[in-house]
C-alpha cells in the first residue's frame, strides 16, 4: 500500500485503538486487525484505489469513538463474568439433581437457565410421583380393607 494511504488508514485505526484502552492488548489488537481487514478489502473493491476513495471508505465505516463505545458497551458483560460465573453451570445442576436431589434443585432455583414454571415442576416431580403413588396404594388398601 502506498505510504500516504497507509498513514491515513493507520491514523484512523489509531483513533479507534486509543478509545479501546480499557481492553486487553490482545483483544484490542484483534479488533483493529479485523477492522483493518475490512477497510482494506472494501478499498480494494474499487477499480482504482486512491486517497479519495480510501477516505470515503473510512467515513462510511463510522465514527471511531462511537465504534469503540459500541465495543466497550459489551464490557459491562466483562464485569458480568462475575454475574455469569456466579450462576451455577447447568451440567452441575443436572448431575447434582441426580446424585443429591435437594442440592441440585436448590441450585436450579438459583440459576437463570430455567423458567420459574419449569423449576416448580421439576421440584414437584419427586414429591408428586411417590406422593401420588402412596396415596393411590393407601386408597386401594382402604378399599380392600372395607371390602374384606
Amino acid at each position: 500500500m502506498e505510504r500516504k494511504a497507509e498513514n491515513i488508514l493507520n491514523r484512523y485505526l489509531k483513533h479507534i485503538e486509543i478509545e479501546l484502552e480499557s481492553l486487553t492488548p490482545f483483544a484490542r489488537k484483534e479488533i483493529i486487525a479485523e477492522i483493518r481487514s475490512h477497510l482494506v478489502e472494501e478499498w480494494q473493491s474499487f477499480e482504482e484505489q486512491n486517497e479519495e476513495n480510501l477516505l470515503q471508505v473510512i467515513n462510511n465505516f463510522g465514527d471511531p469513538r462511537e465504534i469503540a463505545a459500541d465495543y466497550l458497551a459489551r464490557s459491562p458483560e466483562e464485569m458480568e463474568p462475575q454475574a455469569r460465573a456466579s450462576y451455577p453451570p447447568t451440567w452441575l445442576v443436572l448431575v447434582l439433581t441426580i446424585i443429591f436431589w435437594p442440592a441440585g434443585i436448590i441450585l436450579a432455583w438459583l440459576s437463570p437457565a430455567w423458567r420459574t414454571r419449569d423449576k416448580a415442576i421439576a421440584t414437584l416431580i419427586p414429591v408428586l410421583i411417590p406422593g401420588l403413588a402412596i396415596v393411590f396404594i393407601l386408597a386401594i388398601r382402604v378399599i380392600i380393607g372395607a371390602v374384606s
Binding site: L94, T97, G104, A108, A113, R115, P126, A133, I137
Partner: protein
Amino acid sequence: MAIPINTIILLLFLVSPLASAIYLATTRKPGY
C-alpha cells in the same frame, strides 16, 4: 400383590430425582 409395596415406593423415590433431572435437561432455556 406380587411385588412388595415398600419396594415400589422405594423405587419411585429413587427414580423420581432422575425424572426431575431429565425434565430440567429438556426444558433448559436456549443459550444456557
